[in-house]
């Protein structure tokens, strides 16, 4: 959180969900909503960890204008994101793409779950049911439990 604070200061002003600025808005509310949806997944490239929906940086403003322009021209979310990726690389999207390089990232958490469950099952199986008491043990237990023999 300190990071964001510092970034905000680095740009001289505090970002306050900058994308909601009425001066930038598209006239069509449906298109505006779609543009906002896309903003949340686009990184402000000069600010380490902020979406262009939040950032007040100049570059974020330019990117917003670009996305709004494309949305207004009727481009789909996928097309806009593809356009941005071609121009700025994968770095620009906050959702990493699902490809061979990012496989570990996407399936890692679920591999941990499966491995854990596999270990649990192995353990449960290896132990099997609890062993029955031997005759000697039954006799001793009876002796302990029987109040008269105590």
């Amino acid at each position: 959180m300190r990071l964001r604070a510092l970034l905000a200061i680095a740009f001289g002003a505090l970002s306050i969900a900058a994308a909601s600025d009425p001066a930038e808005r598209l006239p069509d509310p449906a298109q505006e909503a779609r543009a906002r949806e896309i903003f949340r997944d686009v990184r402000c490239l000069v600010c380490q960890n902020e979406s262009i929906d939040d950032s007040e940086a100049e570059l974020a403003k330019d990117l917003r204008a670009l996305v709004r322009e494309q949305v207004a021209a009727g481009k789909s979310e996928g097309e806009v994101k593809q356009f941005l990726t071609q121009r700025y690389g994968e770095f620009v999207l906050l959702t990493p793409s699902f490809n061979a390089w990012n496989l570990a990232l996407w399936i890692g958490p679920f591999v941990v779950v499966l491995a854990g469950i596999a270990l649990l099952l192995m353990r449960l199986r290896a132990r099997g049911p609890e062993p029955e008491l031997s005759e000697e043990e039954t006799r001793r237990l009876k002796k302990i439990a029987d109040p008269e023999t105590r």
Binding site: L7, V92, L105, V113
Partner: protein, 660 residues
Amino acid sequence: MIAEAGSFALILALALSVAQVGLSATARWKRSAVLAGAGEGAALAAFLSVAVAFAALMHAFVTSDFSVANVAANSHSEKPLLYRVAGTWGSHEGSMLLWCLALTGFGAAAAGLGRGLPRGLRAVTVATQGLLGVVFLAYTVFASNPLARLTQVPIEGRSLNPLLQDPALAVHPPFLYAGYVGMSVVFSFAVAALVEGRVDAAWARWVRPWTLAAWSFLTVGIMLGSFWAYYELGWGGWWFWDPVENASFMPWLIAAALLHSAVVTEKRGALPGWTVFLALAGFTFSMLGAFLVRSGVLTSVHAFAVDPTRGVLLLMILGVTAGLGFALFAWRAPSLPQGGVFAPVSRESALVLNNILLTAATATVLLGTLFPLIREAATGEAISVGPPYFNLTFTPLMTALMILLPVGPLLAWKRGDAMGSGRRLWWAFAAAVAIGWVVFAAIAPRHGLGAAGVAMGAWLIAGALAEIIERVRLFRAPGRESWRRLWGLPRGAWGMTLAHLGLGVFVLGAVFEVTWKVEAAEALPVGGSLDVGAYHVTLERIDGVEGPNYEAERGLVSVTKDGQPVCTAQPERRLYPAGGQTTSEVGLCYRGMSHIYLVLGERRDAAGQPVWLVRAYWNPWATLIFVGPLIMALGGLVSLSDRRLRLGVARKEAPKGAGA
């Protein structure tokens, strides 16, 4: 003069920590009670020395002694007293001193409160804690001295980042560090258990109070940080999956997992190796957090990113300390006993599932935080891992955990009765589904996922209550019997119920806020207004305000609903001339558990008339997001006060074994 005394005390503390390691280790080797006592004395003395150094730094901040480099860089004579005090831990150097204070403080506490422990275990714990003290004190003394003097004394300091001048953030680091560093005692206990080859029910019971304390502090610390971000940054958000947040969240998740696995080890003697592993992992993640926040590896710009040399040093400390701990684990763990047997449907299995899911959640946060680094190192290509990734991975894992959560406590140890537990929980399940349905039908706009989330929160709360009802046999035993049982419940049981209930409260708040939040923004002249949700917001006035160390424009904003006045708020836009920064003070209107969140933006000109950018959010049930964690931390504290967990008592009661 006082600063020099502080520097001296810090060096003395380092020497005392070295003595602590030597004395306690020799005490273990020679089995000498006298040397062990001396080692514990050294631990206490080291803590007092660090406390003196800390007091000296605080004195320098309070009196604005700008001959101390750290004060000159981070303070200002016009700053209010609270923030001069808080400035002590506001910088890299000061926060490392706070870290050392907590580390030696926990060391002294472990030495002083460990009277019930076996001598060997206690001596090795004190020695390990001393070793951690040596490492971090040496780093502070040689690489980041907070009390270094300047040869040329400036007239005025450069001030603390104004965003950090806030009451919640002033007390946030002490809580956070108490949590981070509290895990060090658990780490030392784990090392001692491995050295002694003793991981049994008694050991698990000694580890629990320290974990509980650290986890509770961490919960409050993270909550305060999140609350600060919520009302100070002016985004209206409260969690950003920022690397710095993740750094504090990972030890929290591990501590939560450890709390549960330690119960299994304590009650059933099972999972000893895993519990020790988590005990080592907790402080490892704390150190990783300290490294990530200070090294600047993840972010090119950061408040604490001072210089790479320090980052490398911290990485070395992390590598050597954790490396030695886990090497010891690899060597000794195979000789640990395997522990009790349990059926697939049992409390043990439920707790193991809890641990699998919490560990996977930690792995997710770790992967999400570090993967961009790994990917860039491997392929030279930069990628971003943002909030959408965590929503797709972390959230399903937590959902699975929360579906299972209410079932676990109702299962018996060893072999549970799934049908029986189902019968006791059916009403909780029915209530949750009904609440979810009502929310789906009644709240506009309709939102299926949101309604499901609300049902989940209700399920957690009802499940926590069902557990208490089951314990007191409400409606099944005579009323007086239930009443007697209610009063007889151990504090630990109340603690668990509160913690689980708090999670449910948090989920309700988070789901409501995220799903049904409304945003509106307009450029308003004085007298202009906008609508947010059912509320009508009017900018009544703009005043110029002169603060102690800032100048501000303060808006008077009135809120009405259906023509009836609701409240007024005063959002501000501040300029701090000392650093030339602008910040925003959010105006918050509390409506029950919901907030109307008002932000005053920059002044613009529209046709010769000044207008101000006003942003308003309707954040339904947002209070619960912060109350939930407080209830969880309260649960931790209540559990901590359980008689069985007190160290001295544990020994006296040990032969009787643990009652559920």
